[in-house]
């Protein structure tokens, strides 16, 4: 346990300069910071705001996993979604039922986001912000208030809304009213905790706004304090320039291959995707920036056979080509059977530089395109990629 605590201390101390905890505690918000690199994904920091809301002391919380705040009526589906977001290293905003130390449940808007290392794009921490959702009487002022809040919180969103955006002065007045409104709400119903907690709680724009603001504030502090140690963090996975993304010539040559495939770089941590074809994006429904820098495992889901995933890992480890049939999921979570072929790709140095993964939607009916079997078409992609990677890395300045 001591070494665990030691790791937890280091999780912060190595990355952020001194006084970071004090700076974080100057923020009024409720939030926790967890470290996915330590076994058990424990909490390494809990703000005073958090401890106050949940009724725990710091020592009762540091080193524990976030599931300690869940309870019998916490929605399992929501928990799974959070776990998936952790696995996929993505942000998530979701309402969740949590339990205080005294056992009382309450709804909160949980906003979690990864904190990335600026130099190599790895996830260093996860930041979790908790915004309690006050009970609201149904179909009342609150929903209207919600809409107006939607309108004016920032100019951009307002343009999309139903009403055209008002001038700034009007906006800020409304927001003030909003603030007063919700304060009244919470004061007026102190014992609302008894109200049916089975009903999922509606979050209004105010909660979302608060969550976003808290995230932004915490990230600001973390970024600032990481500058001083030189180990910068940032809220976005920074563009993997240089080693991550491919050179323009290769990118362009690969762009000529009109099939679904990705290139992953085994020399980078967690073997991220460094190239994804347009067809791949069409097949899976993702945008390019959602895919680059991530390991392909985000395509797998609940019913994906872990044995198949293990098989893939083994073939990759031994640098052998393989073909598997794996259940994958599009962005909209619709599943499809993916006839996946993976092959190592060497560059001019003769060493394996990438792995290419070629996807075929097995449920697609037009299998025999121009007489080439799907397997042959996959192999032709592998060949074209091998030619491009080898040839275009021959230049003197390639590594």
């Amino acid at each position: 346990m001591e070494s665990q605590l030691g790791l937890i201390e280091q999780s912060f101390d190595l990355r952020y300069s001194g006084w970071v905890r004090e700076a974080l505690n100057e923020l009024p918000d409720s939030f926790t910071i967890t470290d996915p690199c330590i076994s058990g994904h424990p909490i390494v920091f809990a703000s005073n705001g958090f401890l106050k809301i949940f009724g725990y002391s710091k020592d009762e919380v540091i080193g524990r996993n976030g599931r300690m705040f869940q309870g019998p009526k916490t929605n399992r589906r929501s928990v799974m979604e959070i776990r998936e977001a952790v696995r996929e290293e993505k942000a998530i905003q979701i309402s969740l039922l949590n339990y205080r130390k005294d056992g009382t449940p309450f709804w909160m808007l949980f906003h979690m986001c990864p904190v990335f290392s600026k130099e190599d794009g790895r996830v260093i921490h996860f930041l979790g912000v908790q915004v309690p959702i006050p009970r609201r009487p149904k179909r009342s002022v609150s929903t209207v208030v919600g809409n107006i809040g939607n309108l004016c919180e920032n100019g951009a969103r307002a343009r999309e809304g139903m009403f055209r955006c008002c001038r700034r002065e009007v906006c800020s007045d409304t927001v003030l009213e909003l603030g007063r409104g919700s304060a009244l709400d919470s004061v007026s119903s102190p014992d609302d905790r008894e109200i049916d907690i089975n009903e999922p709680c509606e979050t209004s724009e105010l909660e979302k706004q608060k969550a976003n603001a808290a995230v932004s504030n915490v990230l600001s502090v973390l970024t600032h304090y990481s500058e001083l140690t030189g180990k910068l963090v940032c809220g976005k996975r920074c563009c993997l320039s240089g080693t991550g993304l491919l050179g323009s010539s290769l990118n362009i040559s690969l762009g000529r291959i009109k099939q679904s495939f990705v290139l992953s770089d085994p020399r980078l941590p967690d073997m991220p995707i460094v190239y994804a074809s347009d067809t791949f994006l069409e097949l899976t429904g993702y945008a390019r920036h959602e895919v680059l820098g991530h390991n392909c495992r985000f395509l797998s889901g609940l019913d994906t056979d872990p044995a198949t995933q293990f098989q893939i890992k083994e073939y990759i480890r031994t640098e052998q080509p393989c073909t598997v049939r794996i259940l994958n999921y599009r962005k909209d979570r619709t599943p499809f059977w993916n006839l996946l072929h993976i092959s190592p790709v060497r560059n001019a140095s003769g060493k394996v530089a990438y792995f290419v993964g070629v996807q075929i939607d097995d449920s697609c009916k037009n299998q025999e395109e121009h007489g080439l079997s799907p397997q042959r078409r996959q192999l032709s992609v592998v060949g074209a990629v091998k030619v491009a990677v080898r040839s275009l890395s021959m230049g003197a300045s390639s590594s």
Partner: protein, 404 residues
């Protein structure tokens, strides 16, 4: 007097043995699944039938065929797919992609490859080198003795002026097809042999029909990286059975690539309502893309009256440095300072330029490294290949943008 040399011949087929090893063949079939009468009947191979149209005249428009996508990329896909299949089946003597290779620094871009597996440590064979034309010798190795698994597909002209592909077609013994086979000692990925009318056992000599076939294959592959070659006897052809060789060597990007990158960038700017100018120079080798905001500033009243008074509208020629002035005063007082003052109003702010660059790079799905551009080699490639470096020349108020 006969001129002879001794050398170790390259092994291009797994069934290629030198004469001493040939031995006696069993009468009723060799059991090796070759292409001779013993094994050929009933054999089937994929057949690619190409269209015999004069490709050069229709080069300008790709309107040859209704289905543009399929034929152009198709022979390419077929060849690469079959080749990779044979790779994975272990038919090659070594993995050529595991051989280190590099471009030799210098003016010409020579390529060096370390390939220890190609050369066999065997007893050298004698070759007569003073006769370029020699008769076909059945007893020596020829391509009818290769295993059928080494043949990738038949390559024939199409009957009805349309590209056709049959995944499994019988081999017409009466009318010998031409075939494409692998070279089991490849010099690069995709190294194949094109053997015209294989069953006719023609000796290694070029004729019009065969050469045309080879050219059709190059055209049909439709891939700028596809290279075709021929060695005559005496010029180190290994086997006296008519054959060409081909493989893939990528050597930088083409004019079309540069054009596509630039036009995609322009389309991105248009779609995002960002006005811009484009300058093409150096025979199409350098392209400058300038997003600008002068008109917007003018409309918002943010341009100084003095500048407005010159009535110079900064379009592409002005931004490239060619200032056409309307007033004598401006002409006489023309200075670099004045020119820069104008251009400074034209260009976007640093932050905005970065935003626009990110927008474009996201749209064209690649990240052009500001510092490196492309490798020195690609820059040195002369007329054929184009440099992408200068697509990167999105301007700020960078002095280098104005040509001297």
């Amino acid at each position: 007097m006969m001129l002879r040399i001794k050398r170790v011949p390259t092994v291009v087929s797994n069934y290629q043995k030198d004469e001493a090893e040939e031995g006696v063949r069993p009468a009723g079939g060799c059991g090796r699944n070759c292409l001779r009468n013993c094994c050929l009947p009933g054999a089937k191979l994929p057949l690619y039938a190409f269209k015999m149209v004069n490709k050069f005249s229709s080069d300008k428009g790709l309107v040859d065929c209704e289905d543009k996508e399929a034929p152009v990329a198709f022979l390419d896909s077929l060849l690469l797919g079959e080749w990779e299949d044979r790779m994975q089946r272990g038919l090659f003597r070594y993995d050529v992609t595991a051989c280190e290779t590099k471009v030799i620094p210098g003016e010409y871009g020579f390529i060096a490859q370390l390939n220890e597996g190609r050369h066999l440590k065997k007893r050298p064979t004698e070759f007569q080198v003073d006769k370029v034309l020699q008769p076909f010798d059945e007893n020596k190795f020829n391509f009818t003795k290769v295993g059928q698994e080494e043949v990738l597909f038949q390559f024939e002209p199409s009957n009805d002026n349309e590209v056709q592909f049959l995944p499994s077609a019988p081999i017409d013994v009466e009318n010998s097809p031409s075939v494409v086979a692998i070279n089991v000692s490849p010099i690069e990925y995709g190294h194949v042999l094109l053997i015209p009318r294989i069953l006719e056992c023609l000796p290694q000599r070029i004729d019009r029909e065969s050469f045309l076939l080879a050219l059709y294959m190059a055209a049909e592959a439709g891939n700028p990286y596809f290279r075709l070659g021929y060695n005559s006897l005496g010029a180190f052809a290994t086997i006296n059975h008519l054959h060409f060789q081909a493989y893939y060597l990528a050597c930088g990007n083409t004019l079309e690539d540069l054009s596509n990158v630039v036009s995609d960038s322009c389309i991105c700017l248009q779609d995002n309502n960002i006005p811009y100018n484009v300058l093409v120079s150096d025979s199409g080798r350098r392209i400058f893309l300038f997003p600008q905001c002068y008109a917007e500033k003018q409309a918002l009243g943010e341009v100084s009256p003095e500048l407005l008074d010159t009535q110079v509208n900064p379009a592409v020629w002005e931004i490239s440095g060619h200032m056409v002035l309307k007033r004598k005063k401006d002409y006489e007082e023309a200075s670099e300072g004045n020119a820069w003052r104008l251009l400074a109003e034209v260009s976007l702010s640093e932050e905005r330029l970065e935003e626009v660059k990110d927008l474009i790079f996201e749209a064209i799905a690649c990240h052009i490294d500001d510092n490196k551009g492309v490798t020195p080699t690609l820059l040195e490639d002369s007329d054929v290949t184009q440099s992408l470096e200068d697509v990167d020349a999105l301007t700020g108020s960078h002095p280098a943008m104005v040509p001297a």
